[in-house]
């Protein structure tokens, strides 16, 4: 059970690809900073293809800052900083892809 | 005989490590050793040369545990102990021997 964070845009970095290769069914993925561009519904085919067991999150402050509020794939749950902390507690380990 | 940093023919930092590692010679080593109140014997030189060889190969100053291990492998089990190294380089053998051997300060900052 690992919380994976990705902070780079999928358009400029392979972070998301590498993360997706090694994501287990029990894991969660949280997109932060420029990583949130991967939650855009024009891009999210790959993440939408993931099994339902894997929960997908996107950090609200980063989504709002980038004007993505109305462009998000419905597969992602939008969470605030407090919920980010909760995820970190819920999952015993984090792997940061940056 | 006492030697101060200002008596050394080469530049050292406030802790006595060489500023330019290329300045090292055996004569410089003798002077640094005097500052540490150590009279270099054949056994000291064996460790100093071993350290320099280690640095040439791996590019780092070894941690104490690794120094002990290397001495044991290269110089024999009777010398490969922290007690033996403590006797040669009292206090903090890995640090002091590295200083005399003209290696950089161990950066692991343990």
């Amino acid at each position: 059970m690992i919380l994976h964070t990705v902070n780079k845009s999928p358009h400029t970095s392979n972070c998301l690809q590498s993360c997706l290769r090694t994501l287990s069914d029990q894991d969660a993925l949280l997109l932060i900073e420029d990583g949130v561009y991967a939650a855009d519904n024009h891009y999210a085919n790959q993440t939408e293809a993931l099994g339902e067991e894997i929960t997908l999150y996107v950090l609200k402050a980063d989504v709002d800052a980038r004007g993505l509020q109305n462009r998000l794939s419905s597969r992602f749950q939008v969470i605030d900083d407090a919920a980010f902390v909760d995820l970190c507690v819920q999952y015993p380990k984090t792997q940061s892809w940056y | 005989m006492s030697v101060n940093a200002s008596d050394l023919p080469v530049a050292v930092d406030a802790e006595g490590y060489l500023k330019d590692l290329d300045d090292w010679t055996e004569a410089v080593a003798e002077l640094i050793a005097v500052q540490e109140n150590i009279d270099l014997t054949e056994e000291h030189w064996q460790v100093i040369h071993l350290l320099r060889e280690f640095y040439r190969e791996f590019g780092i100053s070894p941690a104490m545990r690794i120094l002990v291990k290397q001495v044991r492998i290269k110089l024999g089990t009777d010398k490969g102990s922290s007690i033996f190294l403590m006797k040669l380089f009292p206090g903090s053998p890995a640090k002091i021997a590295s200083k005399i051997a003209g290696l950089p300060k161990p950066t692991n900052c343990l």
């Binding site: 059970m1 690992i2 994501l23 380990k93 940056y98 | 590019g59 545990r65 290397q70």
Partner: protein, 122 residues
């Protein structure tokens, strides 16, 4: 610190010289090793480039990391893993690398992550 130590997985994902990350990751790894913490290294993405032979850094004025990496077995660090698809997409054969590595496919990497108590992400 080493009595009931948590085993650490260091994930090395950057090439050796484009920035300080690989160098500082290695410093962290050497520190963990000096403390005798149980430690494994996973090289993936551009991190596998750290393991290429024949690195000569004189021309760029950087320290040669490929000279230091082979010191790790002396520190009793012996578990070196590389991710298969990272090797394949870069056309690298694991036999030519400077450390004795075990090649893991994606499923095995998942297991490696799962079995580690603490992850250092570089």
């Amino acid at each position: 610190m080493s009595t009931t130590a948590k085993n650490i997985l260091a994930v090395m994902r950057t090439g050796p010289y484009g920035n300080q990350t690989a160098k500082e990751a290695l410093d962290a790894v050497l520190t963990a090793a000096a403390f005798e913490l149980p430690l494994s290294l996973l090289f993936m993405d551009d991190g596998v480039f750290q393991l290429l032979p024949q690195q000569d850094t004189q021309g760029i004025g950087a320290k040669d990391l490929s000279a230091t990496l082979p010191v790790l077995p002396m520190y009793d660090v012996e578990r070196f893993y590389v991710e298969q698809s990272s090797l394949e997409s870069r056309g690298i054969n694991s036999a030519e690398l400077i450390l004795p590595v075990e090649v893991l496919d994606s499923e095995q990497v998942k297991v490696l992550f799962a079995e580690s108590a603490s992850i250092l992400s570089f």
